[in-house]
Amino acid sequence: MEMCQMRVQVFEYKQSLFREGTLDAQFTQLQQLQDESNPDFVAEVVSLFFEDSEKILNDLTRALEQKCIDFKKIDAHVHQLKGSSSSVGAQKVKNACITFRNCGEEQNIEGCFTCLQLVKQEYLLVKTKLETLLRMEQQILAAGGAIPMIE
């Protein structure tokens, strides 16, 4: 595929992710921090985000399985996930966490279960999309091109 076409494809894909609210401006900030001296910065941060999120989601699942639910613990986990998703620009995950926190504050157990499912769903979606995007961008870089940025 020609470089031009590749770049257009990436640009349009990225644009769609922003338009649908999957990613927000913070992701652009991350990309702007990547340069020749730190060519893998975005991939590294995103990878840390995946690791972190999966651990937190497991902890949350376990916490909600307990006979006596510790809402403080749940709040702490959700706060953490909200923070890291916000830092990478994973907007839908962040918003799902905000809703989750509200359920936790109300000690609404059923609501928490629903929220957990929603957060997991949004996380899996953003994970797939980010992996796709980064793979596409990597192909451009490997072919000597520059990643198109969304301003």
């Binding site: 913070q26 730190n38 910065f41 941060v45 690791e51 702490a76 909200k82 923070g83 890291s84 830092s87």
Partner: protein
């Protein structure tokens, strides 16, 4: 699990290698791996030397305030402390208090960062002596502002070199 990372030996800040460029040295404290990576990059981009700590306890150890340690005069080594507000164990606020209670360290400016905009929290931190309270996620412009503060706060006889990447952003 690694507790801190730095361009210099991680055991203590006192033992840091001599840095010919005299970049300001910032201690960044945050329990989030993602945020530590981010702040490190932002600070490095602003020509700062960075040491990170994953919690207040570790930060205290690096500052020489850990249990069993004697307080050491290493005011020269750290120019700024940036800490997340909400951390398990010791909060950023509690860390701020401990720093301000230390005769050796109280002069070091402390910036609190938080993902939540809570006026009472901000007031509390500022009253306790925090230099600034900033919202997460931090932007490059926030860090540039802090860099400027650090230059102003350095000794008048010492002139700080301009950051190499001044026009990068």
């Amino acid at each position: 699990m690694a507790c801190s990372s730095s361009s210099s030996p991680p055991t203590s800040i006192k033992g840091a290698a001599v840095d010919n460029e005299e970049r300001p040295h910032v201690l960044a404290v945050d329990d989030s791996l993602v945020d530590r990576k981010l702040i490190e990059r932002l600070l490095t981009n602003s020509a700062c030397k960075v040491t990170t700590a994953e919690n207040g306890q570790r930060a205290m150890e690096l500052l020489g305030l850990g249990d069993g340690q004697h307080t050491i005069n290493n005011r020269e080594s750290i120019n700024l402390i940036i800490t997340d507000y909400w951390m398990p164990g010791m909060t950023g606020y509690e860390l701020l208090k401990k720093i301000k209670e230390s005769s050796d360290l109280k002069e070091i400016p402390v910036v609190i960062v938080s993902s939540e905009n809570v006026p009472t929290r901000i007031k509390k931190c500022l009253e306790e002596g925090a230099q600034e309270f900033m919202l997460k996620p931090l932007q490059q412009s926030d860090v540039k502002k802090l860099r400027f503060h650090m230059m102003k706060l350095s000794k008048p006889t010492k002139s700080m070199p301009l950051p190499k990447s001044a026009h990068k952003f």
